[in-house]
């Protein structure tokens, strides 16, 4: 059986303030679910966005306690790429402006 290649997730960096206007900014929202482990969600946010343990934990607990959290913002391409990676990891992420 041929070995399928895995996809290595890139670290997606938020855009700087100078890079885009507010109107172009898309927000990536992660929603709470009753299945994924808190430790897993923290790990995904750290590996995907390069966040510190403290920031990833704060965002994950916001998801857990409030039902959702904005975990990233950027132009539409970057936001869609972030959603792709989050869905690939089994998290539910949506886009909004």
């Amino acid at each position: 059986m041929p070995r399928l290649e895995t996809v290595t997730a890139p670290v997606i960096r938020p855009a700087s303030d100078e890079e885009e206007s507010v109107a172009d900014v898309w927000k990536v929202v992660v929603w709470n679910d009753p299945v994924n482990l808190i430790s897993y969600v923290i790990w995904v946010l750290r590996t995907l966005f390069g966040y510190s343990k403290e920031k990833a934990t704060r965002l994950t607990m916001q998801v857990h306690n409030e039902g959702r959290a904005i975990v990233f913002d950027g132009d539409r391409d970057k936001a869609e790429a972030a959603c792709f990676e989050l869905h690939r990891q089994g998290l539910w992420a949506t886009l909004e402006q």
């Binding site: 059986m1 070995r3 399928l4 290649e5 895995t6 996809v7 290595t8 997730a9 679910d33 009753p34 299945v35 994924n36 482990l37 430790s39 897993y40 790990w43 750290r46 590996t47 343990k53 869609e80 959603c83 792709f84 869905h87 690939r88 990891q89 089994g90 539910w92 992420a93 949506t94 886009l95 909004e96």
Partner: protein
């Protein structure tokens, strides 16, 4: 029992002869997923990205969904290979594949068991709860060895 342990050569797996074949069997739950419109477990793996914008949601699906499925197939192939070779040593990319498959398995099985909200866990049969717990323990154990 310590199922995963980082060594100088990578992360050593020790699932044991009782657990490794069972995990391979569990993957059948991922291969018989139905149409997301009819199968809650399949729907959990294909949630919408754009809410309230069907055109944008459809465009995103067209561009990304197949790539997600291919990635999941690759992860599952890695998972089976590692489980078949257990005990073995995996590199970090392989470990990340295992982590994602544990997540996928828990999501699909929980959906099949009818878990939609936190309180649904109280209604699970003992074997169902134990299965989700074991998969969660394996995933958490691997995350601790893998690191960010």
């Amino acid at each position: 029992m310590r199922p995963f342990q980082r060594t100088r050569r990578g992360i050593a797996t020790d699932l044991g002869p009782g657990l490794a074949p069972g995990l391979i069997d569990l993957l059948a739950a991922l291969s018989d997923l139905g149409d997301p419109r009819e199968d809650p477990a399949a729907a959990r793996l294909a949630l919408p990205v754009y809410l309230g914008d069907d055109a944008a949601a459809s465009a995103w699906e067209s561009e990304h969904r197949d790539r997600i499925e291919l990635s999941r197939l690759a992860d599952r192939a890695t998972f089976v290979r590692v489980a078949e070779q257990d005990p073995t040593v995996v590199d970090d990319d392989e470990a990340r594949s295992l982590v994602r498959v544990f997540a996928e398995l828990r999501l699909v099985l929980a959906a099949r068991f009818g878990v939609e909200v936190e309180s649904d866990y109280a209604r699970l049969e003992e074997e169902q709860a134990e299965l989700l717990d074991v998969l969660g323990w394996l995933q958490h154990s691997l995350l601790e060895e893998l690191g960010p």
